[in-house]
Symmetry: C2
Subunit: 171 residues, 2 copies
């Protein structure tokens, strides 16, 4: 299905990507800092950074003119991975390490208070669960996706009222 | 670093996991529905589902007593992956497919309006960017993590006022 989840995962590549992004969010910017924090092999790190540069998630800048040292900074596209990273961290805090054992707390710098839990919100600010969402084809839906939605619609109607569907089919 | 990002990624396993979760969010529940939607090999799907059951992200239920057919449903832990999935989808919509070409729109079922963009929010409801966050050791921070934070604190202080740090070292 040509959904953005699959395409986003494809761009992100593998878990190392999110861990490198995490280090950049923590303020790391050099190859050796990433390597030191992640304990990742040089060739794997070099490969992931090259990929991240190609995809415009990081940009590479010379530290000082004339010096052969570089810093890797998140671009706007890279910084926009923040909600994803925080959602992942909060899920891990809740379901892996467990409450009261969070390795890291994220605070709002201005008020020094913990940030909110990330949730899916309606336009009028209600937190929404899966059952409160509806998925509809968007402007970029391809033929296959449209067919899937149509089949799902018929299936829902059948479940809601089996007799009505039968009648419609016969007529 | 023993952060929840790495531990969450470790539990989620690989990209297939999030795609199976996505299908469950769309209402799919049987092995054949997952296989049909994802075009995934039977043995890989069986392996991922087994893993997801072990980790309590899915639960397996007999469709009807006495019938050898099963449905896979998200547990609370699984449903709690929703913000992560939506964040991933919105990132893909913005940076991969591009605005105006979104394959899928997510609506609030009650008002039939698009959901909000997922953001990191302060306790008093301000959207926060990376520079507006502070990362601090939590109650579950291990020794290595505490040392990292301490080194980072010293580094920040040195950058802010190199002379002061030098004096402190000498005294």
């Amino acid at each position: 299905m040509n959904c953005s989840v699959a395409q986003a995962l494809d761009q992100i590549g593998d878990w190392w990507t999110l861990l490198i992004v995490r280090e950049a969010v923590y303020g790391k910017s050099s190859f050796s800092e990433f390597q030191d924090s992640l304990g990742i092999a040089r060739n794997i790190l070099a490969d992931r950074l090259r990929r991240l540069l190609e995809q415009g998630i990081f940009e590479k800048m010379q530290v000082r003119p004339g010096v052969d040292r570089y810093a890797y900074h998140l671009t706007e596209k890279g910084r926009d991975l923040l909600p994803l990273m925080v959602a992942l961290m909060q899920w891990g805090d809740r379901w892996v390490t467990g409450r009261g054992a969070e390795p890291i707390r994220i605070l709002d710098a201005e008020r020094r208070k913990p940030i909110k839990r990330i949730e899916v919100m309606s336009a009028d600010d209600r937190a929404l669960s899966i059952g409160q969402l509806r998925f509809r084809p968007g402007p970029g839906a391809g033929r296959e996706l449209l067919m899937r939605f149509e089949r799902a619609r018929i299936e829902r109607a059948r479940r809601a009222n089996p007799a009505a569907i039968k009648r419609r089919r016969v007529s």
